[in-house]
């Protein structure tokens, strides 16, 4: 990046929000695949991704992440939006590049099997490519349903949060609602909706942190 005026940019805020974004990407991965164990194998954690993105942006000799002068004077909001896209792409590229070697452990539930029947399921290791291939098959759909239900079950005592999470996990449902729509739908206020979402965020990040520490205790990574 050539010399640029970053006086309108709060680097500390960028760093924190990018780290949170990176954590959400990892969380989204686990939410869909139900598998935390594959991520340490990537060799890059959410903090590495966030700090690395920002360092590349600040490095005048790195031309892969640069602020275009045509985009105007950089602001915290503008730079953050740009670096979030970079970070997303880096994470997805990482998964793509490791798709053959990354192993996803799935609990296979044959289509039609009773999910409550634990004997019906067994643990299997699949490459990420293989997992993606299976995801639309009846077995794949069953695996995803189990993962989704398992995550929702963690919120059984908090139905107000469970409702929102259920919508967030549904790609078609969630985007259709603004906070105002959701407040009307759930008979509450917009500010209460925002508070619930923040509480849910906190809980999800906590659950993910807990899963990460369990996973790193259980599986030695090289």
């Amino acid at each position: 990046m050539a010399d640029i005026d970053l006086r309108g940019v709060d680097i500390d805020e960028l760093l924190k929000k990018l780290t949170l974004r990176a954590r959400r990407l990892y969380l989204a991965w686990v939410g869909l695949t139900g598998d935390e164990s594959a991520l340490p194998g990537l060799g890059v954690g959410p903090e590495d991704l966030a700090v690395g993105t920002l360092v590349r942006f600040l490095d005048p000799d790195d031309y892969t992440v640069t602020w275009k002068h045509s985009a105007g004077t950089p602001t915290t909001v503008g730079v953050l939006a740009y670096l979030r896209r970079v970070l997303n792409n880096d994470f997805l590229d990482l998964l793509r590049s490791k798709a053959h070697e990354t192993t996803v452990i799935v609990e296979a539930h044959p289509a039609g099997a009773d999910e409550a029947d634990e004997d019906a399921g067994s643990r299997r290791a699949l490459s990420l490519d293989g997992f993606a291939s299976e995801i639309e098959s009846p077995d794949g759909q069953a695996i995803r349903r189990v993962n989704r239900d398992r995550l929702l079950a963690r919120f059984e005592g908090e139905p107000d949060l469970q409702d929102i999470l259920e919508l967030q996990l549904d790609p078609d449902g969630y985007c259709a609602y603004t906070n105002q729509d959701l407040a009307l739908l759930l008979g509450t206020t917009v500010s209460e909706m925002e508070n619930r979402k923040k509480r849910l965020d906190r809980r999800l990040l906590g659950i993910h942190a807990e899963m990460q520490s369990t996973s790193s205790r259980e599986e030695p990574h090289g």
Binding site: A2, D3, I4, D5, L6, R7, I11, D12, E13, L15, K16, K17, T19, L20, R21, R23, R24, L25, L27, A28, W29, G31, L32, P46, E47, A50, V51, L54, V55, L58, P60, D61, V77, N88, L95, R96, A99, L128, D129, G130, F131, A132, S133, I135, E136, Q168, P171, C175, E194, K197, K198, D201, R202, L204, L205, G206, H208, A209, Q212, S213
Partner: protein, 159 residues
């Protein structure tokens, strides 16, 4: 075919991350720090890592005999630990002070007591605060109040 399905899965991951992040831009500084801590990230350690990264770039540029860009010097200043800063710009000094205040309020300190809260409130009432500083003090007060409420309900449960 497998590649197409992989791409679909990856775009679902990105879309879900978007949906999970939709409140990020409304988080106050204190909420942001709290979220990071819950997620297992220490804001001070993150800042230290970034500072080291910036220092490494600056060193490489100096060793190549080139001048270090101004924005990089400012970035290094903004991320440096408080004790190692010898001269800072007005903007960086204010940012550091705000970060320091947040740090004080988030741990056990004189600010996290009812007396500390009264001092914050009294200072908040003065007219010579910028909008941003007024918001910061409101944030700190809300954080202290919420902690005090949680502490009381926790105590009740134990009894």
């Amino acid at each position: 075919m497998a590649r197409k399905q992989l791409e679909r899965l990856l775009s679902e991951v990105a879309a879900l991350a978007d949906r999970l992040s939709d409140m990020d831009d409304t988080l106050t500084g204190a909420e942001l720090d709290e979220m990071l801590k819950v997620a297992g990230s220490d804001p001070a350690a993150l800042r230290k890592r970034l500072h080291e990264g910036i220092q490494a770039i600056a060193l490489r540029i100096r060793q190549a005999g080139r001048p270090v860009p101004q924005y990089l010097l400012e970035g290094s200043e903004a991320t440096a630990p408080l004790e190692s800063v010898t001269s800072v710009s007005h903007k960086t000094a204010l940012e550091k002070l705000r970060g320091w205040l947040r740090g004080l309020a988030s741990g056990p300190s004189v600010l996290s007591t009812p007396e500390g809260m009264r001092v914050i409130r009294a200072y908040r009432k003065t007219q010579d605060l910028s909008g941003e500083d007024a918001r910061l003090l409101d944030e700190l007060e809300a954080q202290l109040k919420s902690r005090s409420t949680e502490g009381q309900s926790g105590g009740d449960q134990e009894e």
